[in-house]
Amino acid sequence: MALIVEEIINMLEFYEPQADFGTPEIESETMVTLSIDGADVTVPEGTSVMRAAAEKGIKIPRLCATDSLKSFGSCRVCLVEIEGRRGFPASCTTNVEEGMQVVTQSSEIGKLRRNVMELYISDHPLDCLTCPTNGDCQLQDTAGEVGLRSVRYGFEGDNHLVAEKDESNPYFTFDPSKCIVCSRCVRACEETQGTFALTIDGRGFESKVSAGQSEDFMDSDCVSCGACVAACPTATLTEKSIIEAGKPEHSVITTCAYCGVGCSFKAEMKGNDVVRMTPYKDGKANEGHACVKGRFAFGYATHKDRITQPMIRESIHDPWQEVSWETAVNHTAKRFKEIQSKYGRTSIGAISSSRCTNEEVYLVQKMVRMGFGNNNIDTCARVCHSPTGFGLKTTLGESAGTQTFASVAKADVIIVMGANPTEAHPVFGSRLKRRLREGAKLIVIDPREIELVNSPHISADFHLPVRPGTNVTVLNALAHVIVKEGLQASTYIEDRCEMDEFEKWSAFISDDRHSPENTEQFSGVPARDLRAAARLYAEGGNGAIFYGLGVTEHSQGSTAVMAIANLAMLTGNVGREGVGVNPLRGQNNVQGSCDMGSFPHELPGYRHISSKVTRNLFEGEWGVTLDPEPGLRIPNMFDAAIDGEFKGLYCQGEDIAQSDPNTQHVETALSSMECLVVQDIFLNETAKFAHVFLPGASFLEKDGTFTNAERRISRVRKTMPPLSGKADWEGTMALANALGCKFQYDHPSEIMDEIARLTPTFNGVSYAKLDKLGSIQWPCNDHTPAGTPVMHVDEFVRGKGFFAITEYVPTEERANRKFPLLLTTGRILSQYNVGAQTRRTKNSEWHEEDTLEIHPHDAEERGIKHGDWVGIKSRVGNTVLHADVTSRVKPGVVYTTFHHPVSGANVITTDNSDWATNCPEFKVTAVQISKVTAPSRWQERQKMFNTQQQHLLAKARH
């Protein structure tokens, strides 16, 4: 066993640039056979000669070509001879033809290539030995390949050798003296990322790469995704980490631990240090693209704030005391048992983390059910996508998105609702933009004018600026128009849905109260736009819906999710490529943590705890008797804590004190605990209320799997040993064993094997298969051994699709004279969630603080100017931020982010929650805004408390 494990974990590779075929892969059913240097090659029609050669292992020198970008034909190094053609065609821009005879090497070609290289090098510094990309430079390689031996032009001529470096970006340097003007960076910015921040300025010999209009990178529109850096064939655009450390010596393929896109990366290493994260081309979620977080913001993993020793203390006013793992877990087990004997079996519980691996989440819920003997296990999905789970399960039969990200390339009409992909799911955002540039139509339903509404080469066909809290009226009105105008997919509905329910729903939705003309008074969305958008979605071809927390985090979050599913079924837009219902998951493993049974009512695979059959299955494997009663949800835990009935909590990798609503309520609950155990990589806000701190491991320090928003299970691979000596799963195992659970795993692969044994949708999953296939989209079992990219293909998972009645019930959180504005919240590109990771990286250079967006009209009324301190007061609390006066928000709506603890965004959010799942209503808070001169009392207190806790921490560290 140990030997196999060794083999699996040794996915180390010596550092080697990823294979590059020069031009993109072409899909075609027609195959073409040609001869290259006398060898026959058969490739799809439309393939370039360069790629055909590369597939045969024949390398044609090239500089401007790379397979992530459309061929460009500028470098003129890839010239070849083709029988019957004049001159020397460029192999990158010449497509294959049947029977073509290509010669890639001859003395004439050699001379031509050498002479072109000579021109390049006549305007390039000769400092290879001290160049940051020495040994990893395509210009250097190509000069070698063509046999350049001298530069007859000399180096006295006109040149760009003294061009100044731009070091404004914190992560990479732009050194134009090394630029060969191949435009790969410009094209990557356009084609791959879709930001259009870069251009070529000037013409002829004066042509040069320019960020914006000769701005530096930091001041330009650049979003620091790194696509240009990855595309650069020279040292012109180079990671500062590489300039500092030099070329990596080995690499490990792993999965990003930021958002729910789940990008695959090559962690490029020197010893145990990551020197670069390069997006992995074979990663199916990202296909070689990345964003500023995954690509560059990994420095937090080795930040000085990392805590690597377990710590305990009696009260939160005591200094921390560093102890061994053994002492820490034994201490915790003892305290938990004491609490249970004093307050009862259900007085303790746990919260699992959507940032941890599937295996770790699985172990936490297993420990709760076995070791705690109750079902008090919940996960942070409670506060984000629990309505997705409920809503999609109810209507379609499975608690997950229906598509792959790549499927968007076949969508014709795209609805983006309550999501901001270019900020929160940037790599998917780039895919989406690419499809939009190809001509797909876009409907944005969002209170704010997000980037997709209007940005370079992108403009939404309709922006429906919904008033926060009224999503359901908009969705119902869309369905109303489709039904009343007879645009529904009747055959599809008859074939695939429950007709009785449909008839009922149809009668419900046809009522005039759902007409856009009527709902306009609630939603503020003009009826004319709404009608046109409904027609576009129903009649525009493949319709795909992507939504985010702007849909779920409402008192009617689950209703809205069901309304979305209704719309998709109504128009026949589920069950094939290019369509579907797609929740954009916030954290890297939200999908996985839900799949793994970390809900108080569900065992892994979304099976209710009340089912005896399911319980028996787990009882058989685990050798215990399971409690059939669902346990406490996170908000119930807080309430029970305040009521004195819930006294112990194990919280792994979540910062509920910052991320959950009504902070003061949460703080009171945490202060009521007798034993709060926090496992995290930093002393986060929650840990400041903790009695036991178990040091966590970053994603670089452990093996496991993450499941992204596409249900894609991808491997996380260890690049360095855990700083604390234990990966999180090992920490949980130690605690469980201290509680008497007898867990025995040598490697997370064994945990996955157990999950696979017990979960029908995971039956076919194993580490060996993951290593072979790269990633697997569940369900994966005997029916679908390679996984399931598109769900509900022939029929819905629940059999017949269910049209749920989605009556609009206004939230109780309403604007009135005292609280006239509606606050809604969101994220920005450079920061992630509560910011614990990104705030500890140079990403903060883009976003140093959270600000309050307010419309000029509302600002004017209150005498607020851009940059003023403003107080934000809700029914439950108040906080103070700087004002950002902008028309991105409409009058009556204000907006902020929650990346910095001191912002106190959640001090003002309320206890309101989704009727079905208790997902908090983060997105709607009635507030009043006024000009103030100082931070709020809570902020002062938070600052003091923080100082005090840092002091207590310092004592533990001497």
């Binding site: 500028s74 021109l119 006549s122 305007d123 000037g202 013409r203 002829g204 004066e206 042509s207």
Partner: protein
């Protein structure tokens, strides 16, 4: 009433025609004469501009080149009721304009209306058989129109000489709802002005030709990509387009045919490379003017990715003639595979510069000697550059070459857009070769390496040769550089920049260093 004409085209304006016209108007009114002043286009005899014409008994009589001081004496002639306008004793009197040899010896098809009337007057255009070709085309099937063009043998007049009918056929056959007609009016070659002359003197012909092209290939939208250096043409074109819409020759349901064609003018931003068709399309799309790789051909994926006809002003103008006169009549002109007429633009150091439209087949010597009458300086001609800044320098031994695309190509020279620039024996051909490279330095789009860097190195190497620094090695290097640019460049800009350099080296080597003629 007597009609008198003073041109309003750019050349005449540059020579003071506006001031002359004002003075004429003033004098006519102060003397109370029954004379109408019409601002016509130019006949293209620029050595006679400003050319004032008087219409009398159906004929036109000219004075030129006139200045402000000549105006009173001409007014006197007009005022004298006894004047025999056919035979006036005036130093600038030219007699019947049609009989001026320079004009009479030409075969004018495309420029037959040039200078006859107010170019913006749509009625005049119609009375001069304008829109006849379009009227025919409106009743013809698309394929028939394309067949006419093919049969005419018309080849692209922008310089590449690609058969226009085949291009139209490709666009007609390309699938797609939306197609475009783009007129390349970015006339940037040195010594050329034919496009400008047509647009300023007979703009409706271009409108007619483009509409015919639209009918032929199924395009309902046209764009004229006009260089910004042509403000007069811009004004005149826009005026004419407005009139054409009003008269139902443009827009929806043209002349009740049920067919539509919309047309607008877009201005360039001063880049020579935007005369290259793919750069032009990029620029027209609002992007940086940069060469695209071909394939895909613009005929398949052109403007905004749609099938697009990109033709020069003269090609589209000729298409109107082909439809009006019939393809057989058109192809009767010319020689070999060069059919129809060529608008030679005679410029540089020449005595009588201007537009000379001739059937293909005349020789360069006839043009410069018969029409041009030698150099302006009076010195012997040393070299002629034909086809713009990328054209070869031709020594006297090659001047008897007939104007024929193939004959010129055989010399590694080109007819191009028909520009002829004359140099006398004081011209330093090494400096001219250097200028060819320098022009490329400035005007290269910067996309491909041979053109972007090669041209800069070319200037430097020529300087070294002229300075006799390692002359032999540098001559080899220059030849290799020329080969690299010719064989390796992405478009004709870099690919043909070596032609003037190589021809100067071949025919005028004495100018390049060592025993340089210029060493004085």
């Amino acid at each position: 009433m007597i009609n008198i004409f003073v041109p309003q085209d750019t050349t005449a304006l540059a020579l003071g025609s506006d001031e002359i016209a004002s003075l004429l108007t003033e004098s006519i009114s102060s003397r109370g004469l029954d004379v109408k002043l019409i601002r016509n286009g130019s006949r293209g005899m620029f050595w006679l501009e400003p050319l004032l014409e008087i219409e009398f008994e159906g004929d036109r009589f000219g004075f030129g080149p006139i200045t402000m001081s000549d105006v009173p004496s001409i007014i006197d002639v007009l005022e004298d009721s006894h004047s025999d306008l056919k035979n006036i004793a005036h130093p600038l009197f030219l007699g019947s304009v049609e009989n001026i040899e320079y004009l009479a010896k030409q075969q004018r098809l495309t420029f037959k209306r040039s200078g006859l009337s107010d170019p913006t007057c749509i009625n005049s255009y119609q009375s001069l058989s304008g829109f006849k070709g379009l009227t025919k085309a409106l009743s013809m099937d698309s394929q028939l129109i394309v067949d006419e063009l093919k049969n005419s043998g018309l080849r692209g007049r922008g310089g590449a000489a690609f058969p226009a009918g085949i291009k139209w056929q490709t666009v007609l056959d390309a699938p797609g709802e939306q197609k475009y007609i783009v007129c390349n009016a970015d006339e940037g070659d040195s010594g050329t002005f034919a496009d400008r002359l047509l647009m300023e003197s007979d703009p409706y012909q271009l409108i007619e030709g483009m509409t015919i092209a639209g009918l032929a290939v199924g395009a309902n939208q046209g764009y004229i990509y006009l260089r910004s250096e042509y403000p007069v043409a811009h004004k005149i074109l826009n005026h004419a387009i407005k009139e054409a819409y009003k008269a139902g020759f443009l827009g929806e349901n043209i002349r009740d045919s049920g067919k539509d064609f919309f047309l607008e003018v877009r201005l360039g931003a001063g880049a020579y490379i935007c005369g290259e068709e793919t750069s032009l399309l990029e620029s027209l799309e609002g992007k940086r003017g940069m060469v695209r790789t071909k394939p895909p051909l613009p005929a398949i994926e052109g403007l905004f990715g749609k099938p697009t006809v990109v033709n020069n002003v003269l090609t589209l103008g000729a298409a109107a003639t082909v439809l009006e006169e019939g393809s057989d009549a058109y192809k009767n002109f010319g020689m070999g595979r060069s059919r129809g007429t060529l608008a030679v633009q005679l410029a540089g150091n020449v005595k009588r510069g201007g537009l000379i439209e001739l059937a293909f087949g005349a020789t360069l010597r006839e043009v410069v000697e018969t029409f041009g009458e030698g150099t302006f300086s009076g010195r012997p001609i040393r070299a002629i550059q034909m086809g713009g800044p990328l054209g070869a320098f031709l020594p006297e031994s090659q001047w008897d070459t007939p104007l024929d695309y193939e004959a010129f190509a055989a010399l590694k020279a080109m007819i191009g857009h028909g520009g002829v620039v004359v140099f006398d024996d004081t011209a330093d051909m090494a400096a001219q070769a250097r200028f060819a490279m320098e022009f490329c330095v400035i005007e290269s789009c910067g996309k491909c390496t041979p053109c972007r860097i090669g041209s800069t190195r070319g200037v430097e190497v020529i300087d070294r040769i002229v300075a006799n620094e390692d002359r032999d090695d540098n001559l080899i290097l220059l030849h290799e550089l020329c080969d690299t640019m010719e064989l390796g460049s992405l478009c004709a800009m870099g690919g043909m920049t070596p032609f003037p350099v190589q021809s100067a080296l071949t025919h005028f080597e004495e100018d390049f260093g060592l025993n340089s003629r210029r060493d004085h």
